[in-house]
């Protein structure tokens, strides 16, 4: 059992932070790696990146967006409750080297995944510009943390309710124009965001790392469900990734495969909401 010792709601309750007791994992984990969590006996195995680890305290922190039944069930867990299973650290760690100027682009909950990578870049001595975006002001997460983790932060909202109006790609274009010596770009967020960021950095010849989130089961390279096409080759995101060369990823295939269980997930969520409503009335 893996106990939740701290919990926070962000972005109007659509994004949840859990700090979980998992000393062995906390001790081993590196930025970019993920864990698989299962809430209880009937639960699904859900992959989430570690947004933070605290080896002294023996805890890991995950930040997730509530998008379906499993994350909705996770949301009901309170401080003192436990996850039945937490497996990790899984996946490869981010390659972070001292290169000079880097830009980190995070969208949605991708911002949470970006946080440790941003911080590690600053620590190693890179000059870090960070661009984060959300649909609207209320959905923005980790603004203060990202400001502290980088040298300068640009905030964008799609609807212009806060910061710079527009998509993160527009802000990125300005940054790339103004800094021809940017050596590296990290982009983590929704698939279309990563696709368009990569398209742009390719024009500017800036190497780009993206973190992919295909559907997973085991997370150990055993099922092939997480396969993605990178540079024309089949890769398993759980063991070969989750980070890949952004210029080589087949985003359209990934986007399509993410919808594999769309109908089932919708049904599952609807039934769950009905049950939750009924329970609330009791």
């Amino acid at each position: 059992m893996f106990k939740i010792v701290n919990r926070k709601e962000m972005a109007q309750g659509t994004v949840i932070l859990n700090e979980i007791e998992a000393p062995l994992i906390a001790n081993k984990a590196k930025p970019g790696q993920f864990v698989i969590l299962k809430a209880d006996e009937t639960g699904e195995r859900i992959p989430l990146t570690m947004a933070n680890t605290n080896p002294e305290k023996g805890t890991i922190t995950i930040i997730y967006m509530v998008v379906g039944k499993s994350t909705a069930r996770f949301k009901t867990l309170k401080v003192g409750d436990s996850y039945m299973d937490v497996i990790g650290p899984l996946g490869k760690a981010t390659d972070i080297e001292k290169v000079g100027k880097v830009v980190c682009v995070g969208g949605g909950t991708g911002v949470a995944v970006m946080h440790p990578i941003t911080r590690a870049n600053k620590l190693i001595g890179n000059d870090v510009t960070c661009i984060i975006g959300a649909k609207t002001k209320d959905l923005l997460i980790l603004e203060d943390e990202m400001r502290a983790a980088s040298h300068r932060l640009i905030v964008c909202t799609d609807d212009g309710s806060y910061g710079k109006p527009g998509f993160v790609t527009e802000a990125l274009k300005e940054v790339l124009e103004a800094n021809k010596d940017i050596k590296m770009c990290y982009a983590i967020g929704p698939v279309p965001m990563m696709k368009f960021v990569s398209k742009m950095t390719k024009e500017y010849n800036v190497p780009t790392i993206v973190s992919l989130n295909p559907i997973m089961v085991d997370g150990t390279g055993m099922c092939g469900g997480c396969r993605v096409t990178v540079g024309g080759e089949t890769k398993f995101a759980c063991v070969d990734g989750p980070e890949f060369d952004g210029h080589k990823v087949d985003y359209d295939e990934l986007f399509s495969r993410l919808a594999s269980y769309f109908e089932d997930e919708k049904k599952c969520m609807e039934e769950y909401c009905k049950l939750a409503e009924a329970a609330a009335k009791l």
Binding site: K28, G43, R45, R73, I87, G219, G221, S260
Partner: protein
């Protein structure tokens, strides 16, 4: 020979009552119900009690088959289980999944003229009797040696090693990557063939003996072998199986609805997706399903598809019926349940719709050509004979490879060119001091009993090492 008891009156081979094909093809309950005791005793009377029994030669772990059958004949079912346990720790599993027609029953003398003694069904009967009644004395544990052994992987080979070494007085911990123990017995083989309750009851037995079980430990990621040694383990056994799916490299291979048997069966068995939405993990419920391959994995997939509501479940196999590597009983059951077989057929291409979902495939008709290096006649394409099959789910069950996660992250572990661990065939010793390996990760995908046999040999060698040295 004429004086042997079995010869006096001719008793026909007793068959197990089972669920009717049309009923069972729609549920996940076990297919056969097992032999009633009277039938088991009758069946035991068919054994000739040979002086040099051929069946035992056919058994990879050398169970005293006439010995236990003689006890069944006398109704001493509890003594019979103790007899089997001397050589085989998981008879309830083996009775259900061993390819008996190639092993003990394939060699049985009675089988020369009549049907062989139903050794597998008797083994299963005795094991089930014990699980229900719990009368047999537990084997005695030797005095504590103070030595610690780590077993990586909780499949049949890891469980065997753990069971043997705990009895010899060592401290044993199993590290399992999944959240539940059992390996393929739990994530691969479906409930209707091997109820999971049987596997968990075996594992509980080991825990009662004192084996520590640590799930959610992906050795190589969560902890390395050198770290295990540093934690005080004196020896390590690697029984991590052949957990790497083989996918196909043909156009359309990544369409939605094309998945490895590992993924399909893991979702259904381990994650219980067949009980979705009570369990949260979804699975594609194809109406028109094609399974590629011809082994046990393919039979299990095609039969699972029927139970998940398929109208048509087809097996498309590259070679002919004679080469089907699956257990005879599984092929028979699959056919009874309505699985259709397309022999000498190979996939050329998958076709998808605008949503990226598979809707069909192109199949190349093959014929048997010249024998290849293995002596089997190689399938070759029949020029111009290509046909289409409609399908909304394709399950790929064409074999497994060595998962590199642990092996590639461990220094000093010699691998062969396919990535399997090189281990001494007798002792199971690897090139790394203090590390043994066995089962599918050494032999490539094989059988439960071979994995157990390798575990037994390695356990003996580990014991020697712990008491005497490498």
């Amino acid at each position: 020979m004429a004086e042997k008891p079995g010869k006096k009156e001719k008793i026909p081979r007793q068959s197990m009552p089972e669920q009717k094909p049309d009923v069972r093809a729609r549920n996940f309950e076990e297919v056969p119900f097992g032999l009633p005791s009277e039938a088991a005793i009758l069946e035991a009377q068919r054994c000739l009690q040979c002086k040099s029994p051929a069946c035992v030669e056919g058994c990879p772990v050398g169970v005293d088959i006439p010995g236990f059958i003689a006890l069944v004949r006398e109704g001493k079912f509890t003594d019979a289980i103790s007899k089997i346990w001397e050589m085989n720790a998981l008879p309830a599993v083996c009775g259900r999944v061993c390819p008996q027609e190639l092993q003990c029953e394939g060699k049985c003398i009675v089988g020369k003229k009549d049907q062989p003694v139903a050794i597998g069904n008797l083994e299963r009967f005795v094991a089930d009797y014990e699980r229900k009644n719990r009368l047999a004395p537990m084997p005695k544990k030797a005095a504590r040696t103070g030595k610690k052994v780590a077993v990586v992987g909780s499949g049949p080979s890891g469980l065997t090693v753990a069971g043997d070494l705990i009895l010899k007085g060592h401290e044993v911990s199993i590290f399992e990557a999944f959240h539940k123990p059992g390996g393929v017995l739990v994530y691969g083989i479906p409930e209707f063939r091997l109820p999971k309750e049987i596997v968990f009851s075996e594992v509980e037995g080991l825990e009662r003996q004192g084996v520590h079980l640590e799930c959610n430990q992906v050795v190589g990621r969560s902890v390395s072998l050198d770290e295990l040694f540093a934690q005080g383990f004196d020896a390590i056994y690697l029984g991590v199986g052949a957990g790497l799916p083989t996918l196909l490299d043909v156009p359309g291979k990544n369409l939605i609805g094309i998945m490895s048997a590992n993924e399909y069966l893991t979702r259904s068995n381990l994650m219980k997706a067949y009980r979705f939405p009570e369990y949260d993990t979804p699975i594609i419920r194809g109406k028109n399903v094609v399974t590629l391959g011809g082994g046990n994995v393919a039979m299990d997939s095609a039969r699972t598809a029927l139970r998940l509501g398929a109208d048509v479940s087809r097996i498309v196999y590259r070679r002919s019926r004679a080469e089907l590597p699956a257990r005879a009983a599984e092929v028979h059951h699959a056919e009874e349940e309505g699985v259709e077989f397309h022999f000498l057929a190979a996939p050329l291409e998958f076709k998808g719709n605008e949503k990226g979902r598979v809707i069909g495939m192109k199949v190349q008709q093959m014929e048997l050509g010249e024998p290849d290096a293995s002596g089997r006649r190689r399938p070759v394409p029949v020029e111009g004979n290509v046909y289409d099959l409609e399908c909304d789910l394709v399950i790929i069950a064409v074999g497994a490879g060595a998962n590199p996660l642990l092996t590639k992250s461990t220094e000093g572990l010699q691998l062969n060119k396919w990535g399997y661990i090189v281990a001494d065939p007798v002792t199971g010793k690897t090139s790394k001091k203090g590390v043994w390996a066995g089962g599918d990760i050494v032999t490539g995908a094989a059988t439960v009993i071979l994995a157990m046999g390798a575990g037994r040999q390695a356990a003996d060698s580990i014991h020697d090492y712990l008491m005497r040295g490498w």
